[in-house]
Amino acid sequence: MDIKTRTKDGSTIIEIIGSLDGNTVNEAQEIILPLISSSNVSMVLDMKECGYVSSAGLRLLLMAAKQLSVQNGVLVLSGLSDEIQDVMEMTGFNNFFKTFDSVDSALDALRKGV
């Protein structure tokens, strides 16, 4: 797994490349959590290049979203594969996220204030 971060339109975009599972989740956590230490952060997790998210991975996403929301921030997901989206729906994780087809449409929505 590899993680790339960049900033655009005042939002942090985190691209996850590879699988987010028990092997990689700690590494991902160490990168992502420090980015939400300040308030009013809006964050897009770009999952276009992420083929698999395990139970531990979904928990990391949920934890990040919850931590952000208590600091008036927001985390949205973009580019989820159909399979991951499906798994999230069946396991109830989809309730906690707004999802978008692409980073651009996510940024667009954040600009309008999701």
Binding site: L62, M90, G92
Partner: protein
């Protein structure tokens, strides 16, 4: 904050994992900071090793003995640090005596599943042929026990207000006609929540969802050439794990989250969840059965054994769980508490519950400690506890199951009496008067209330409703047992021709008989239970024991929904009527007197003559009136209700009891009339022209609502 007792003190022999002594409680595998705490009980084992695998791999990557200093009493416990527990499967080697006469069957070569496994691998996808060469078939896994319940809470609906709906998770939506994305799974039920709401049921009773092995005793049916499986799943592999094969995400090991999501979403829609739990035996069978867990961990603790060390077989399935052994009792309690607190389950139905009241020699006890413990347990305090009050050892306790005011029962007598009355047997008006009142003859003596009786006409065991009015004889050839399996006392009647027919008169009568049955069930005091699919006249082709049929025989055929909208509509409106009228849902039994000064007793009995029921054996007509002012023990006001049941083959005119001047009778149901005149929406009843008499057709039920003239 750091805890000083979470530092490793040892290293395993391979040098890869750091260890320390663990905590004996809770049993099982628990995630702790930096590692996993393992804890397993065995009274007679001399040593124990933890066997660790990567998921799906045949060979363990590490075997770690529990050091002597890691044992407390009869519990082996250890923390292993640095594990990738999401990709982990674990088991135990247990060493100890092999002495059949003494009840010991230790075999240190076997890899044994943890009895407290919260997730079990090995049958991840339903029906996928297992690797039979794998020495470890049912593999303990570790789960995340965090789940965002979004403020969900068990619904705690009063039991008298429930309408149970018994379903098989797979059979409910597996059929190709179900039209959903994830047929046959927990996620599939979630997709059908709107359907359940339309029907109006408010509690689903799920047939076994604990991990079982669908390949147990799998074989080819000589009659059909099709594979027979352990489809129903009344044979537990583990008690704490949801069956992976019933989850669409089982292949990803996410069945726990999927199952919890289903429960959360059902709760959001006002629907409770009751689990059918099987504590009477396990999937290990008798002496010839496999080592899965219990017999290799502590045979003598977990099973009822004969003095010669063989397995008692009160379950009819090879062995009997030793339910009143204190260790097993604790495990059962731990299990139920886990499902109630971690899964927010609303209650439990106990399969062959009578076994739970047998002592360690198999004799029935008068105050079984397990049943008493469950009745008074604080965590289970609001859970519904429902017993199937018989076992395969011949003990039948319907009406006498030890209850402490907490236990309800599947009322098998209700089913039998209603069926006999429905088919026109003589001598049934007396028994039926009891069944319609919540069987006070069975439950009043201990003041158990009407809701001690779970009323049902059909359940997974036996004919479906449609088959009950279409077959005189069971038709179980496909089960491959020469039609010897399944019950013979079905009290069914085919209405003139055995099986499917084109005869419109017979089909009309069958439809009417189904409506009669539904009407009587839903106006009975006690809690009604409907078998999933009966509302669309689902058929099993006369198979009354489809436990092994993982195919179209037992899957609900949703195309029947379109064909049988008439009966579906009838069920929906009857359920809505029950919900609209508290007078139908009394928690306590009637007092048979007027204690509200209404001029009418809470319940009064009638026949073709008002106020004069004919109780003679040849009578097949019966009517009763419920006084609305006595609804729910006189605590709320409702309309009055009059129900006339004519199970005779000729029409009879019923004289209707007179109402006060300001009230009249309005027609809600007449099963003799063709749809849409058979039933109306509750509250939309039309006033009867004739207020003193009603001609009730042959084999028909009429329901009238007594309310203010308007």
């Amino acid at each position: 904050m750091f805890r000083v007792d979470l530092h490793p003190t040892h290293v395993c022999d391979c040098g890869k994992f750091r260890l320390r002594m663990g905590q004996p409680l809770p049993f099982g595998a628990t995630i702790v900071p930096g590692g996993v705490n393992f804890s397993v009980y065995s009274h007679a084992a001399t040593s124990c090793k933890l066997v660790l695998f990567n998921k799906h791999e045949k060979k363990p990557f590490c075997v770690i003995p529990f050091k002597d200093e890691f044992r407390i009493g009869n519990v082996f416990t250890m923390i292993v640090f640095d594990l990738d527990f999401e990709n982990l499967e674990y088991g135990f080697h247990m060493d100890g005596p092999f002495d059949e006469k003494e009840g010991h069957r230790f075999d240190k070569t076997k890899i044994l599943m943890d009895p407290y496994s919260k997730s079990i691998g090995g049958r991840d996808v339903w029906g996928e042929t297992p690797d039979w060469d794998d020495l470890y078939q049912h593999r303990s896994r570790i789960v995340f026990d965090d789940f965002d319940w979004e403020n969900d809470h068990p619904l705690e609906t009063p039991v008298e207000d429930l309408i149970f709906y018994e379903m098989h998770v797979r059979g409910f939506s597996k059929h190709s006609s179900s039209g959903i994305k994830h047929p046959g799974t927990f996620a599939g039920i979630k997709e059908k929540i709107d359907y359940l709401k339309e029907l109006g049921v408010n509690c689903v009773e799920l047939m076994p969802i604990h991990e079982f092995d669908e390949f147990e005793n799998s074989r080819i049916s000589p009659a059909t050439g099709k594979m027979l499986m352990n489809y129903w799943g009344y044979s537990n592999v583990g008690f704490f794990a949801p069956k992976a094969g019933l989850a669409a995400t089982g292949k990803f090991g996410m069945q726990v989250d999927e199952c919890k999501t289903l429960i959360r979403e059902l709760h959001k829609n006002g629907i409770e969840v009751i689990l059918d739990v099987v504590f009477n035996h396990t999937a290990e069978g008798n002496e010839k059965g496999p080592y899965i867990s219990y017999r290799g961990i502590d045979n003598k603790t977990y099973y009822l054994l004969t003095p010669e060390g063989y397995y008692f077989n009160f379950s009819g399935c090879g062995n009997t769980l030793n339910c009143n052994n204190p260790i097993v009792r604790s495990m059962i309690l731990d299990c139920l508490r886990y499902w109630a607190s971690d899964y927010h389950v609303d209650g439990f139905r106990f399969d062959l519950a009578t076994i739970l009241g047998r002592d360690q020699n198999g004799a029935p006890m008068s105050s079984p400690p397990l049943l008493e413990t469950l009745a008074f347990d604080p965590i289970l305090g609001k859970c519904k506890l429902i017993a199937e009050a018989w076992d395969a050892g011949g003990l039948y306790q319907v009406g006498s199951f030890p209850s402490w005011g907490r236990w309800a029962e599947w009322n098998g007598k209700y089913r039998d009496d209603l069926r006999k009355f429905l088919k026109g047997e003589p001598g049934m008006v007396g028994p039926m008067s009891q069944r319609l009142q919540g069987s006070p003859d069975m439950y009043r003596w201990e003041d158990r209330g009407a809701c001690a009786s779970v009323n049902f006409i059909t359940a997974h065991d036996g004919f479906t409703l449609y088959d009950m009015v279409s077959y005189n004889q069971k038709n179980n050839e496909a089960n491959g047992e020469n039609n010897n399996d399944g019950g013979n006392d079905n009290y069914s009647w085919n209405c003139g021709v055995e099986g499917e027919t084109d005869d419109p008169e017979i089909n009309r009568l069958r439809l009417k008989q189904m409506k009669n049955a539904a009407a009587m069930l839903l106006v009975s005091q006690g809690t009604p239970m409907i078998l999933a699919g009966d509302e669309v006249a689902n058929t099993q082709g006369g198979n009354n024991n489809a436990y092994c049929q993982d195919n179209e025989i037992s899957w609900i055929d949703w195309s029947r929904f379109e064909k049988n909208k008439d009966i579906f509509n009838f069920f929906c409106k009857m359920i809505a009527y029950r919900k609209a009228h508290p007078v139908l849902r009394s928690r306590t039994h009637f007092l048979n007197k007027d204690y509200k000064g209404s001029g009418y007793a809470d319940i009064t009995w009638h026949g073709v003559e008002a106020w004069n029921a004919d109780w003679s054996p040849e009578t097949r007509t019966l009517a009763f009136m419920l006084c609305g002012m006595h609804a729910k023990g006189g605590t709320c006001d409702d309309n009055s209700i009059y129900v006339a049941m004519n199970m005779h083959w000729d029409a009879h005119s019923f004289k209707i009891p007179e109402l006060p001047d300001y009230m009249s009778w309005f027609l809600f149901v007449n099963t003799d009339a063709k749809s849409p005149n058979d039933i109306c929406a509750p509250g939309k009843e039309k006033k009867n022209k004739n207020q003193s008499e009603f001609l009730v057709g042959p084999r028909s039920v009429v329901i009238l609502t007594g309310k203010d003239n308007k």
